[in-house]
Structures are given as structure tokens and as C-alpha cells.
């Protein structure tokens, strides 16, 4: 069974149609990358998959491990293993990273019928994952994303992904605004999580990220549709020639 299957997806935001018949199949164990110019619908796709209320699906289907994803609330999708690394992680004053992740981890465990983790076990889990993405544990004591640098916010997204261990993760321009060192840390975090049961959809503007997270498939999104798909070399071709010849 495909991990994620998108069939003829149409979606709009603020009354404007952005996705216009998108098809995509992602098998477990694969990394897909979506590239495309601004306004082509990349972030809309990410938000529709995650279940943001502001994005309205007008027709089409998304099946996640055989389930109708569009029937599920955002939190149900998350508990079923869908994760979105946000392009613009939200600052939440007054909520510490600890409180936030504790609630998230235990919400998922409850949904899976597993026992909730106590403070000591959570702390152990956080320490282990913090090492993977080279994030300072002190950040967890602070309010979620508040006053974080751009790089810290993105690394915090990857840290959360490592802690929550999703089955399917969408990275929405996680590389934008990162210097090369931060980019490597993010890529290492993703690579360490590659697994035969897990799938990734990496949305990016730049081929650069794909030097570090080598995708199995690259898709070009233009005007709400996937206009071309190929292997990792397609990214290099786009880098050299831009999107225009592809869409033509």
C-alpha cells in the first residue's frame, strides 16, 4: 500500500484556486522532493496535507496508508504519524518547549493506546534527540520559538520531528534562510531518520538541500500541477536551466 496517494487534488485559499489537479504517490521508504517557482502551490500542498482550516479542498482525494486523510482533523493526522516542518514556525509565548513537546508526545501515545511518558522518560528522550540535531537543551526551557534565530527555529522543527518520529513528514522549505552548517545539521537529522517504513516530502526552492538529502524522486510543481517527475538528476537539470523549459 502506498504511504500517501494524492489523486486529482484541487484546493483553494482565500477563494483562489491554487492546486489544480495534483497527482502524487509516495511509497514507504522513499524521499520525494517537490521543486517549483513561487506561487506554484508548494506550501498550499503542505498545508492541505497537514489539515490547515484556511485551505479548502474542492475536489480530489488524499489517502494516507489507505485512510481518507481529508476526513481527519489536523490533530488526528498528526497522531496518525503525519508531520509538517513549518516554513514559518510559530512563536508561542508562555508555553515552554518542554510543556509543548510533553503534550504532543503524550497525545500521540494516548492515540496509539500506549502509556504516557513520565517526566524522567521524556527528559531522556529529549536528550537523546537533541544530540541528533545538535540543539541546546536550554532552548526547551524557553517559550516555543520565541526569540529563536531563524536557524534555531528550523532546527527546532527537525528536533520535534526526531522526538515525534512521524511516519510521513513534509518539510516545507526547511532549508530557506539556513547557512551551510545549519543546513547540514537539518539534513543529517532527516537522513538519520530515513527508514523503510517512513516517507518524506521535501519542499524546496533550491537544489542545494538535495546535495545533502538525496531524494529518490524529484517533482516539478507549476501552476498547481506536477508537470514533470524524475530521479535526483532532475534537480541538477533545473538548477542549470530553471523551470521555464520544463513547463514548456
Amino acid at each position: 500500500m502506498a504511504l500517501l496517494e494524492i489523486i486529482d487534488l484541487h484546493a483553494r485559499v482565500e477563494g483562489q484556486e491554487i492546486l489544480k489537479g495534483l497527482d502524487l504517490v509516495i511509497e514507504p521508504g522513499t524521499v520525494h522532493s517537490i521543486m517549483g517557482p513561487n506561487g506554484s502551490g508548494k506550501s498550499t500542498l503542505a498545508n492541505v496535507i497537514a489539515g490547515h482550516d484556511a485551505y479548502e479542498v474542492t475536489s480530489g482525494q488524499i489517502r494516507y496508508r489507505g485512510q481518507d486523510l481529508l476526513e481527519m482533523e489536523a490533530e488526528e493526522r498528526a497522531c496518525a504519524g503525519v508531520f509538517l516542518a513549518f516554513q514559518y514556525p510559530v512563536e508561542i509565548p508562555g508555553v515552554s518547549g518542554m510543556q509543548f513537546l510533553r503534550a504532543a508526545v503524550n497525545a500521540r501515545r494516548r492515540a496509539a493506546g500506549e502509556e504516557e511518558l513520565d517526566a524522567a522518560r521524556l527528559l531522556g528522550l529529549f536528550r537523546e534527540k537533541a544530540e541528533v540535531v545538535n540543539i541546546d537543551m536550554a532552548l526547551l526551557k524557553r517559550a516555543v520559538n520565541e526569540g529563536f534565530s531563524g536557524g534555531e527555529k528550523k532546527r527546532n522543527e527537525i528536533f520535534q520531528m526526531a522526538v515525534l518520529e512521524p511516519t510521513f513528514a513534509v518539510l516545507d522549505e526547511t532549508d530557506s534562510g539556513l547557512d551551510i552548517d545549519a543546513l547540514k545539521i537539518v539534513a543529517d537529522g532527516v537522513n538519520s531518520m530515513r527508514h523503510e517504513d517512513r516517507g518524506f516530502l521535501v519542499i524546496t526552492h533550491y537544489q542545494r538541500l538535495l546535495d545533502y538529502i538525496v531524494p529518490d524522486f524529484v517533482h516539478v510543481l507549476m501552476d498547481g500541477r506536477i508537470v514533470r517527475s524524475g530521479g535526483k538528476d532532475l534537480a541538477l537539470e533545473l538548477e542549470a536551466g530553471g523551470y521555464a523549459p520544463v513547463g514548456a
Partner: protein
């Protein structure tokens, strides 16, 4: 209108006759001034600028009788209202009357006076007459005038120079229901001599269902270099009416740490009037008002910088659900010559329903030219982006809302220094706004984790 005026004059006239029959003593002589001042205006109406958002009709129509002393509630009724053994003294007032049976000095040093004002006026006449009724503005404020007109008793606290009191002095004001709705007008006087420090917690509770009207004035004189930590915890039932006025005068280099938490009451007016009279004073004036149902919670701040080099910070936050109405009216006055004043006033409101309402009226009045004053007010709903972020991590919508509300309130609650008061207020928040339930349970534990983390890093 005429009907209202007649009614409210009637109940206060009756109460005055009642008082004249039963109580005399050294305080009685001051009542006439208050009564004359009150009679000149009557209860304020919404045409008064200071009362634009708050109607006093529930007081006028309440037909309250003046509470008399004598009632001693059972220990079981009083015991739940404590702060887990941290208090240095507990003074209990039932319907505004001192209740010696339930009042105790605990760890309070011998030299500190803490008792009731009526007795202090006899035992320490000089101290009382030197400070009583110096700073509240009865000529401008009908409720302060009314309080003076019914001056009878309240708490009296005196801390001698250089003495630092550990543990709060807990003033518990309990209202009961009689055969008719009762009113009381307690007057508290707190005097801190040079370099002393004390925490005073005014704690308002109801022992029964039913309406009651309290009109409390607390005056505090904070001597040079002294520090007053003052708390108001409004936890009465939602039929209660409470007008609370705190008038503070700060002498040079003194500190005020004022925290207000309004959870209970049907109609609450919280007046905090602070005068920074000497150089180098510091004032922190924080408040949290949490309304639901038809609660009306009105906060009225007046901070007067009368001397140079003083620093004041106000942070008032409102959480308003259902049809509740929250008000913040704050005025900072910087008098001529109060150079290098540094004053900040912030009001934030969180509306949880479409019919909840918040009014904010921040005002600056500045007569000095070298000052730094800022104020700001915001009113909004829970941030939908933050809600989505939390939900995307698997946190259900109800819990996510609870977490964000908890976060909004916790800034004020965490700034309070007594852990048991913080815990009680977090519990109160949960009881009031059920969707915060999960987060109280985890809040304290999360803190433990955070402390462990602190040790680890």
C-alpha cells in the same frame, strides 16, 4: 433615575441610623465628612468619566443592610482558605467585622502590630490618627467617601523600622448570607516604617451563596526604603459586589509589588491608586482578571509620579469568556519636576467568546520633559496560527486552547512570589475555564522537568 437615587439614598440613610445607634469610639468622629462628601454626589453614574463602563445600578437596587458583628462561622468553613502554612498571621473578618476567634498571630514578630483598626485606634491612637485617611481621595470618589461615612473597623498593620516580616499577613474577608443582603465598608491601614518589609494578602471569599456588597478601602504608607508586597485575591461567589480601593503612598527608595487576581464577584471594581512621593521609588502593579458568565471586572489604575527617578511597571491581563466584561482604565500622571520618570503600562485582553467584551483606556498625563513613558493595550482572540501549530503536533483543539490560555495567564501568575498562591490561582483558572484542565495538571510537573533540565545543562 430618580427612583434609583431614592433607593440608594434610602439604604445608606437606614444604615447610617443603624450605625449611629450601635457603634461609637474614636473613629466615629470622622464619619460626618465622608457622609457629606457622599451625599454631594450619590453613587456615580455612567455619565461620570471614571465610571463610563460600569453601572452601579446593582448596588443602588441591591437594598443592602449594614452588616453587624457577632457572627462566628465554624472552623470548617474558614479552614479551607489558607496558604498552606506560610502565613505569618491570619486576620479574619466576617462581613467586614473582625473575628478574633479565627484570627491568629503565627510567626509574626512581637514588634509588628497586626489586628483590627477599631482596637488600634484605642491602643495606639497616635499612630492611627497620624496616618488614617491621609491618602484616599474621598472628595473625588463617592465609594471612598461612603467608606469613610461608615468607618468602623478593618485591619491595622504596623511594621517598625528595619523589620522584615517573613510570610504573608493573610487578611481573609468572608461574606455570609443573612436574612437580607449585607453590605460592609472595611477600612484597612498599613504602615511600614523605614526599611521594613511585609506582604499583605487581601483575600475575599463567600461562605455561602447569595449577594453581598463590600466597599473596602486600604491605605498604605510605605516608608523610606521599605517594601510592601500587596495582593488582592477576589474569590467571592458570582453574586457578590466588591469595590476595592488601594491607596498607596511611597516614600523615597521604597518598593511596591502589587498583584491583583480577580476571579470571583459579579461586579468588581479594583481601584489602585499609587503615589510615588519620594525619589527612587519602584512600583510593580500587575493584575489578572478572569471573567465568565456575566461577570463585570473593572480595573482602575492611577499612578502618580510626584518625584524624580521613579520607576513603575503595570501589566494587566484579562481573559474574558461568555458574556463577561473586563475593563482596564489606567492613568499615569507625571508631575512637574518628576524628571527621569520611567513608566510603562500594558493591558492585554484575550476574548474567548463573541459576546465577551473588553474596554481599555490607557492615559498619560505628563508635566515633566525628561521622562520615558509608554503605554499600550491590545485585545484579541487566540492566535489561529498558534492553534494550528499545536494541533499539527497532535494536541487536540480543546487542549491547545487551554495551553494558550494558560500561557497567557501564567506570565502574571508566575510573577507572584508565594507558590501556594500561584497554585491556588492556577486551580481557579482551571475551574473557571474547563478547557484549561489538562494544563494545570501538567503545569507543575512540567516545571519539575524544567528544573531538572536546568540542573542538567
Amino acid at each position: 433615575m430618580n427612583v434609583t437615587l431614592t433607593t440608594n439614598a434610602d439604604q445608606f440613610e437606614r444604615a447610617r441610623e443603624q450605625l449611629a445607634r450601635t457603634a461609637a469610639g474614636p473613629l466615629a468622629a470622622r464619619r460626618e465628612t465622608g457622609w457629606e462628601q457622599f451625599r454631594a454626589t450619590g453613587l456615580p453614574t455612567r455619565r461620570d468619566e471614571e465610571w463610563r463602563f460600569t453601572s452601579t445600578a446593582p448596588i443602588a437596587k441591591g437594598d443592602f443592610a449594614l452588616a453587624r458583628s457577632g457572627e462566628v462561622p465554624s472552623e470548617d468553613l474558614i479552614r479551607p482558605f489558607s496558604f498552606g502554612g506560610v502565613s505569618s498571621a491570619k486576620l479574619v473578618f466576617v462581613n467586614g467585622h473582625f473575628c478574633p476567634q479565627h484570627s491568629r498571630r503565627l510567626t509574626l514578630p512581637d514588634k509588628v502590630l497586626a489586628g483590627n483598626l477599631a482596637d488600634a485606634a484605642v491602643s495606639h491612637p497616635q499612630l492611627v490618627s497620624e496616618h488614617l485617611d491621609r491618602h484616599p481621595r474621598s472628595a473625588d470618589d463617592p465609594f471612598t467617601a461612603l467608606n469613610l461615612a461608615f468607618l468602623e473597623d478593618g485591619a491595622f498593620i504596623h511594621v517598625p523600622a528595619g523589620l522584615r516580616v517573613e510570610g504573608p499577613i493573610h487578611l481573609l474577608y468572608a461574606s455570609t448570607n443573612g436574612s437580607e443582603p449585607l453590605m460592609c465598608h472595611p477600612r484597612n491601614l498599613v504602615v511600614l516604617d523605614e526599611g521594613s518589609e511585609v506582604m499583605v494578602v487581601e483575600h475575599y471569599v463567600s461562605l455561602h451563596e447569595g449577594p453581598a456588597f463590600s466597599n473596602v478601602v486600604t491605605e498604605a504608607v510605605v516608608g523610606p526604603g521599605a517594601r510592601l508586597n500587596h495582593y488582592v485575591l477576589e474569590r467571592e461567589n458570582e453574586q457578590a459586589i466588591n469595590i476595592e480601593t488601594l491607596a498607596v503612598r511611597q516614600e523615597r527608595d521604597s518598593c511596591l509589588d502589587s498583584h491583583t487576581a480577580l476571579f470571583g464577584g459579579r461586579l468588581v471594581r479594583n481601584n489602585i491608586h499609587v503615589t510615588l512621593a519620594g525619589e527612587g521609588c519602584d512600583s510593580l502593579i500587575n493584575g489578572l482578571y478572569v471573567g465568565h458568565g456575566e461577570q463585570h471586572l473593572d480595573n482602575h489604575m492611577r499612578v502618580v509620579h510626584a518625584a524624580p527617578n521613579c520607576h513603575s511597571r503595570q501589566l494587566y491581563k484579562g481573559i474574558l469568556d461568555e458574556q463577561s466584561h473586563g475593563i482596564f482604565s489606567g492613568r499615569i500622571v507625571v508631575e512637574e519636576g518628576a524628571q527621569k520618570t520611567d513608566a510603562v503600562q500594558t493591558n492585554r485582553n484575550l476574548l474567548l467568546s463573541d459576546s465577551a467584551k473588553a474596554n481599555a483606556k490607557p492615559q498619560l498625563e505628563i508635566y515633566a520633559d525628561d521622562v520615558k513613558c509608554t503605554h499600550g493595550a491590545t485585545t484579541g482572540q487566540l492566535d489561529p496560527d498558534a492553534l494550528f501549530y499545536l494541533r499539527q503536533r497532535g494536541i487536540d483543539e480543546t487542549t491547545a486552547r487551554g495551553l494558550l490560555i494558560y500561557a497567557f495567564a501564567s506570565e502574571n501568575i508566575q510573577s507572584m512570589s508565594v507558590p501556594s498562591i500561584r497554585r491556588q490561582l492556577l486551580q481557579a483558572l482551571v475551574q473557571k475555564l474547563p478547557h484549561t484542565a489538562m494544563f494545570d495538571a501538567t503545569g507543575e510537573e512540567a516545571q519539575v522537568v524544567e528544573e531538572a533540565l536546568g540542573a542538567a545543562t
